[in-house]
């Protein structure tokens, strides 16, 4: 290393970058370190660990994770965060560059996108665990840092592993109403996703050629027909055990186990949004019903929790509609207006959804009544006390102007129950459930 000519100026940066690593290398090299490295490598004994099996799980995640990211971003779009009071992550800066006006048709659009986000996220859990199992020897690499490039890669792995763990933990805890933290879920799940994706993009960019090479090194079809008795360690690659133990499960066995786990997760949870799987959704946080009454479908935030005084929802209640002029309407007056019936889903950010038949006054009729332009943005305010998180939401003009968007008074032919928003609630095609404000007190059509 000593008889090299002086470097050209262009290479000085590289030299400077390399200095700390060279220092580390000097400290952590030598026969003792080599012996430790050999010893560490011998600890990993699984005969099926290797680049091929890692790449199988990696390629599944390469498909799944971009879908998670895109549906996650779409959910942010669906909140219409550019409208007043709708943004849960107002500090997003340039991370909102892709925002566009959310659609309000077809009515099931958010039901599908968010159903995919949550169901797929759960289904990926076993695959992510398998991937982490398959690469665990990398965490204990000796020496821990080989070059500047290697050091940067390891930093990006902090984003990758820390990020996916954070996204899974916050996502799953949220759909189960489990909040063992003080931070805001939206903040951490949203910014965490971006931090994770920066690590993910680096990882894919760097490892993609290795993944393709590893996948080509063995035939999937042959692996799927190789029994335990014929299972041998992979021939080369850094994850391959130096001193493999005898195989106790074949590669197809492990792949089958992981697929089986994902399938079990799917069939025990997806029924909260796919009706035909309702019967097996034993571990779905939602999708449970109290009984068979018209109002016995999923509730989010009960009337009791809303802290609304029951007296203000009675005969005294008046809806205030504000456009060019202000109109006050009793429930009886609303019922005497032309009624519109629509079959619309409540689709929650938590991934569950439920389609019901709603009857009430079309929001476009209320806009005309108040002299507002059809297609104006609409601020809906509930009877909940100020400071309640779901007290108000702003609907975009295309949502409030959709002929099927309702101020619902009835559901499945019966009056709304207090839990479902009596005396009146918003129900809008394509919007997240949280924007379907319950216990509506005031509708304000906003001038454009």
């Amino acid at each position: 290393m000593s008889d090299r000519p002086a470097p050209a100026p262009a290479n000085r940066l590289a030299l400077r970058l390399a200095r700390p690593v060279a220092l580390i290398r000097r400290v952590v090299s030598g026969p003792e370190i080599d012996a430790l490295a050999a010893k560490t490598q011998r600890l990993w004994r699984s005969p099926i660990r290797g680049p091929w099996i890692t790449s199988v799980f990696g390629s599944l995640l390469l498909v799944g994770i971009p879908i998670m990211f895109v549906t996650g971003l779409l959910s942010y779009v669906a909140y219409d965060p550019r409208l007043a009071g709708n943004d849960n992550t107002p500090q997003h800066g340039i991370l909102g560059f892709y925002l566009f006006n959310w659609v309000s048709s077809p009515s099931w659009v958010y039901r599908i996108s968010q159903g995919i986000h949550v169901s797929l996220g759960l289904v990926l859990l076993p695959i992510i665990l398998a991937k982490l199992w398959s690469v665990i020897p990398k965490l204990f690499e000796v020496p821990p840092v080989r070059s500047v490039a290697h050091a940067l890669e390891r930093v990006s792995l902090v984003l990758l592993v820390g990020g996916i763990g954070l996204e899974l933990a916050t996502g799953i805890a949220d759909i189960e109403y489990f909040y063992p933290w003080k931070f805001d879920f939206y903040d951490v799940h949203f910014y965490g996703a971006w931090a994770f994706m920066s690590g993910f993009l680096i990882h894919v960019w760097v490892k993609f050629p290795a993944m393709v090479k590893a996948l080509r090194s063995r035939s999937l079809r042959r692996e799927l027909s190789t029994s335990l008795a014929d299972t041998r360690p992979e021939t080369s690659g850094e994850l391959v055990a130096r001193a493999p133990a005898p195989a106790t499960i074949s590669r197809r066995g492990l792949i089958g186990l992981v697929m089986g786990a994902s399938a079990t997760v799917f069939f025990t949870t997806a029924g909260e949004t796919i009706r035909s799987l309702h019967g097996t959704a034993l571990l779905a946080p939602r999708g449970r019903r109290k009984g068979r009454d018209p109002n016995d479908f999923e509730v989010n935030i009960t009337f009791e929790t809303s802290r609304i005084d029951p007296r203000v929802t009675g005969a005294r209640w008046r809806l205030e509609v504000e456009g060019q002029r202000r109109v006050k309407l009793s429930r009886a007056q609303l019922l005497s207006m032309p009624q519109t019936t629509a079959e619309l889903p409540i689709a929650c950010v938590e991934g569950w959804s439920t389609v019901q038949t709603w009857t009430g006054v079309a929001l476009v009729d209320l806009a005309r009544l108040a002299g507002a332009k059809v297609g104006s943005d609409l601020l809906a305010v509930s009877l909940e006390p100020p400071g309640s998180p779901y007290r108000s939401a702003t609907l975009a003009g295309n949502q409030a102007g959709n002929p099927a968007a309702l101020l619902a008074l009835k559901v499945n032919g019966a009056d709304l129950s207090p839990d479902h928003g009596f005396p009146a609630r918003i129900i809008v095609p394509g919007a997240p459930g949280v924007h379907c404000t319950k216990w509506v007190q005031q509708l304000r059509f906003l001038p454009s």
């Binding site: 800066g93 070059s147 940067l152 902090v158 954070l166 909040y179 805001d184 760097v206 571990l283």
Partner: protein
Amino acid sequence: MTADGEHGDQVGGNFGGEVGRPPARRAGLALFRRRYGGGPGHLLTMVAGLSLAGYVISILAGVGHPLEILLWVAGAIVAHDLVLFPLYTALDRLSHRLRPRSGRPPLVPLRNHVRAPLVISGILLLMSFPLVFGLSQRTYLRATGLSTSVYAGNFAVVAGSLFAGSALIYALRFVLARRNRPQFVADDREKGPDDAHQRAEG
């Protein structure tokens, strides 16, 4: 990265190929690679990705409870490698004891018929333990008007079905294996090692 083992310091994919470049640039690239440990494309990817991460982290630092977030990230990094992995590996080592101690290999190995339902139930529990143990009972009730008390039973039903299903497949495989090896069955009847074999496995 299968190439890592053989090429020492080189990491990553095939960045900055050196074929067909003028000799001076080739020498410069070679030096860069030697010093940096990868091609210029690798460095560019790292700088781009880590800059984005830096930007995101600078926002996260200002959103409230940043220390708690940091703690959760740290927890997420070690959760699998230093907590779950040692736990399930230790459990799996215990399952070694399910091997028959007699010399003859079992007709159908029992081990993976225990492992599979155990692994899947474990993942289901990891996914739904807040509901199964009622840890979110208060917030769940406030949102849904329902109790989380059903989930412990539901989990038991799912886990029980997985074990029952696995046992059923084991029994089927055992019957099929016996039928396909008539000599072995005849052998069994004479000496009765089937019983001994069952005892060793269970």
